[in-house]
Symmetry: C2
DNA sequence: CTGTTAGCGCGTTCAG
DNA sequence: CTGAACGCGCTAACAG
């Protein structure tokens, strides 16, 4: 079928047309629509008939204009191709819906210019709140949100002293926790595989945390693209002298696992492997992946709740630290004692 | 940091306040904002100063009220947890952005009631177009969109005779194509693994296509949940007498692969495995997965283009068939000749 | 180049 | 219970 244009923009029939058709005033129609109890049974029926007859449909914009509210929240995310962001958006949207808000998503591809552009677009369309990923945003964005009095929340990050409220986890400490886990298993030489650091403060923070703990183990860092292919490319030319690989993202860990399998290296016997995210996939690989579970769903919920509470006027938005957790599965084991 | 409420709703300073502060009329302020060239350098400066002074911020809703447009499109999708939908949304959003539109996403969990609820919410907020997944939608939804003169596009489906324009592929024919591929390899007994059929016309259509081709091979159908766990649960109790498993979704195929690995069955030597979707993962498993590539990105782009063209008044929305394609990789091989 | 006037569609006074 | 009138914030038309 083809959808045929029936009318120009928004049908054009207004409350006035209904009023005329029903032989009442527009105010009465408005009332019949908003507070039916204040209208007599009889005229209400009359109006309903008129509405159907002239096929009236209320104009949401005019409504919003009166209330001054759009019940719309924006989210600026670097990508949707990574399951972790999809899950976050999903959780955010579900929680916002409970409070009557809708979610507009804008993908930035981790490009600051695109981010600025989309932020402006979101603001222009009247969002009442904005959620972004990470902390490293051009000041233009922060200032803009401020100027428009739009509450801004940074997620995937926890930093109580930041310029804007953060709802997330401590990337640095979490990476350190993972490293410690591996070190405690006796791993001395560890390969760190991570995604792009450009415009990605989450990754940067993880790496910094790791570097600060250099004493713990001998660390080698490799940066690559954040996909399975990236893991392959990073590891293929590597002699793999480490006894463990710690990936700053499960997608890389899974890519590493596939690579190691192809290379004939057994995990965890010949190589321990640890991830970061806890994707659905990670629990099902062979062996299942030891990883760090990120509280993504809670992050979405919490972000929504904070913004909604703020908009309701209940309270200011406060930063919140959510706790990641190590999930021990089969891809890690104690390092061989040096013989 | 905590975000402190500075002001009640939308700051309240209007174009009038600016006009007063600058000593000009409101129309001039409006002009200075929208067509700066029509205003003298001098008064423009004056106005800019006034804007900063009273910290004016334009009200997008009032703007929308004049133009009658919101430049917002809604998408109703069953889930974001499945990468295929995330990718679709991503592509849709990117293309809509090019035309100046924003995308509001609403997740329905494949629940008709939720779908109705969210559809209404989207309409109430003033979307100008709506994209849904699949064809099986309660008439209420279709009728509603019609009543509000909102163009509606159904995706992941192609059905030229449907009630609403579809942009997608022929699920039935595509499944048949996959089956034929396996049959041509000599597979006589094939296990079909598929996701829930309830409220999912895409899956239903694939199954129907397969059943219509029953003559081609001996088919056994198993329904399960659409996740890795689902594949595991479905296959664990199965004796696996088939020589090939055809999964109606890559996620199931990958789950199946993991299961077979654990079970010690070699793919493709002892079991051929074929998917449906072509996720990023599928190209990287061991062995890489033979699957059917779905034109998801094109689907998003095309949907956006059709809606935008329609809204521009250029033309009606017409259905479009996009062609899936078999991607032959390592998980399938010719069946052993019966000895 | 700038000011005045007149609404956009709706909800909300305030009278009746 | 109902109607008349006003105004939300902004912009398009028309004068000047």
């Amino acid at each position: 079928m083809t959808f045929r244009r029936k009318t120009a923009q928004r049908s054009g029939v207004t409350i006035k047309d209904v009023a005329r058709a029903a032989g009442v005033s527009d105010a009465t129609v408005s009332r019949a629509l908003n507070r039916p109890d204040d209208v007599s049974e009889k005229t209400r029926k009359l109006i309903e008939a008129a509405i159907a007859q002239v096929s009236y449909v209320p104009n949401p914009i005019a409504r919003a204009m009166k209330s001054g509210r759009t019940y719309t929240i924006g989210a600026l995310i670097p990508t949707l191709d990574h399951a972790i962001f999809a899950k976050f958006i999903s959780s955010l949207e579900a929680e916002l819906d409970k409070e009557g808000y809708s979610l507009v998503v804008a993908v930035t591809d981790a490009d600051p210019d695109l981010e600025t552009h989309k932020a402006q677009k979101l603001i222009d369309m009247g969002i009442e709140g904005l959620v972004v990923s990470g902390l490293a945003h051009n000041n233009a964005l922060i200032e803009k949100a401020n100027r428009f009095h739009i509450p801004l929340v940074a997620t995937s990050y926890y930093e109580p002293d930041a310029q804007l409220p953060t709802i997330g986890y401590d990337n640095s400490a979490t990476a350190q926790m993972g490293l410690q886990f591996l070190a405690d298993l006796g791993h001395q030489k560890i390969l760190i595989l991570h995604g792009p650091t450009a415009n990605n403060d989450r990754t940067l923070s993880r790496i910094e945390g790791l570097k600060a703990q250099r004493g713990t183990a001998n660390l080698e860092f490799i940066e690559t693209t954040l996909d399975l292919e990236g893991a392959e490319r990073a590891l293929a030319p590597n002699p793999l002298e480490a006894s463990a690989i710690f990936c700053m993202s499960d997608i890389l860990a899974i890519g590493a696992l596939f690579h190691l399998q192809r290379r004939g290296l057994r995990v965890p016997d010949e190589m321990s492997l640890m991830g970061f995210d806890d994707l659905e996939f990670s629990a099902h690989t062979n062996p299942p992946l030891t990883t760090i579970h990120l509280p993504i769903v809670e992050m979405g919920q919490r972000s929504a709740q904070e913004i909604c509470a703020f908009l309701r006027g209940d309270r200011d938005i406060t930063a919140a630290e959510l706790m990641p957790e190590i999930i021990t599965r089969g891809s890690t084991r104690r390092a061989e004692e040096p013989s």
